[in-house]
Symmetry: C2
Subunit: 332 residues, 2 copies
């Protein structure tokens, strides 16, 4: 590995001068030297050691992002928003997949901390388990104590900057839509029990039920993981056990798509409503009614909070949920 010292020697200057030329320091340097140094850089294929630079400059520039899984379209969209803002700001983004494991999340927080990132953005539902939440919180505080910035997306357990999708309201909208269409026997495909996202969306659904005087009994609510196949399996079970359902609310679009598939397999078609309004929603048959959350906006806002001036206290921004009506729901 060519080092700065090699370049300096090659060009017959001091490392100080070489460094100044390479980094475009404000200090003026004779043209002849500049050329010699640049020539040496080219010849030796010199690439500065980023770690040495970080150490010497001790400026934090990269940002870390922890998501459940980038290859999940939900997080892919959020990540897109995060990247857009970070890139505009000239930041390197380090993406970490926690795969929904709190321990891995913990590890990544320390790892990003160790890498001296300027900020950590955590996207994805928090954990209802309070012991877990407390441990995460402790590590995050340690990071903040060193001047690091934190923004979270979609979890309320951390007392810092946050941007929250209005999951409860979204759940309410989904319920309201189905109930005003006249449905009385509505099944729910919920996400993993441990996630706050599930809890919030479900809460909204229940509020709608109360408001419209309908029932949403436990035996019509099944849990699955937030995937297409999880949704398909759960839906198959639900329609087999409760043949009289006229509608199913799936708490994300992947599961809604799975539900559609299960219905097709079963040779039936009842109302289906999804959540998140992901790109696929309009391309399935029937096109899926869904509750839209602007996922990229979620990402953009979070990154802006994390990179902008720190607020006096924790700032919370909400991203509203909007119902998008398509053809998978209709009046009874």
């Amino acid at each position: 590995m060519a080092t700065l010292a090699d370049v300096a020697r090659h060009a017959g200057v001091s490392t100080a001068t070489a460094s100044r030329i390479i980094n475009g320091s404000s200090k003026p340097v004779a043209e002849a030297l500049r050329e010699r140094v640049l020539a040496a850089v080219a010849e030796l294929q010199y690439v500065p050691n980023a770690h040495a630079q970080m150490l010497a400059r001790s400026n934090r520039h990269a940002v870390g992002v922890i998501v459940h899984d980038v290859s999940d379209p939900y997080f892919a969209e959020i990540t897109r928003g995060l990247q857009r803002v970070a890139t505009k700001d000239g930041r390197l983004v380090i993406i970490c997949n926690s795969f929904r494991e709190p321990d891995r999340e913990l590890e990544y927080i320390d790892l990003l901390h160790a890498h001296q990132v300027a900020a950590i953005v955590i996207a994805g539902s928090g954990y209802l388990d309070s012991a877990t939440a407390a441990r995460l919180d402790e590590r995050l505080r340690a990071f903040e104590a060193t001047g690091g910035r934190i923004a979270v997306i979609g979890r309320h357990d951390h007392p810092g900057d946050a941007v929250l999708p209005d999951n409860e309201q979204g759940g309410f909208l989904a319920g309201e839509h189905l109930f005003t269409l006249g449905h009385t026997r509505v099944g729910v495909i919920a996400g993993p029990t441990a996630l706050t996202t599930t809890a919030d969306r479900l809460a909204g659904l229940h509020r709608a039920a109360r408001q419209y005087g309908r029932e949403l009994p436990d035996h019509r609510v099944v849990h699955a993981d937030f995937t297409r196949d999880g949704g398909a399996a759960a839906a198959a079970r639900l329609i087999a056990e409760q043949p009289d359902l006229t509608a199913i609310a799936a708490l994300n679009d992947s599961m809604a798509v799975g539900t559609l598939a299960a219905l097709r397999t079963a040779g039936r078609m009842i109302n289906v409503i999804g959540f998140d309004d992901m790109p696929i929603a309009r391309d399935v048959t029937p096109p899926l009614t869904s509750v839209r959350l602007s996922l990229t906006e979620l990402g953009e806002r979070a990154m802006s909070l994390a990179l902008g001036e720190p607020g006096d206290g924790p700032r919370v921004q909400r991203v509203e949920a909007v119902l998008v009506r398509r053809d998978s729901t209709w009046p009874v």
Copy 2:
């Protein structure tokens, strides 16, 4: 920021001892000291500075990944495979989005080089422009010269380890399928002209045409970017200009889905075949016939090559293309 020196002082030991205890060095240390140091670590919330560690140890452990865009499902799948292998090996993965801009790709190569990553994996079509390819190649060689490993996915321009989806064969399979079904007037929605992926898939299609004695004239081939909406626009144009087409081959699934949408809008339905067999393919209507590439396998293999023992020369692995028949194609 608490430093090792702080911890050592706090525990009343030298930094050497503190370092040894924290890193679990093989050197034996008295239990009393160990406890004091660990207590100090906890109290001071000490997190080692990764940059200082890298510098002192000069071991390369992280791996860099450059993809066109993680939020594109194609790359999301590949990334999943990459991550799986890297994580199993206990590596930190740094993901960079080039957004198909060669300059950004160049920048990222240097950035990863600067970060002393152990390996760089580049996923996504190469550039037909040879000046661009040459510049990339130069930077990659510089990285390799310092002992870095490189693996590329889906591009043949770099003379190192590579895993190649058999795009040409895939194109051939798509063409063969349509031609044996009896189609004679086949339209093609191709990807960006500058990408080798486009060129290869198209070449396969042409080979099939020759073999089956069919025509695939230029005016039936339109180019779009590899997105759903790009495909929809291109398809709309194509069916307006060539109303007698009986089939359309889209060179990726996103564009195929767009094609389906365009056909629906136009109130027509003709054969459509996609490419990549992404998860959506089975959930659209009609379920999409497509050419499957095992994207996660592509990723896993590439990462294995990059992390495993270096070969004597460049190693090339091929991932085969397989036709998946669904309902979007049928005999004329």
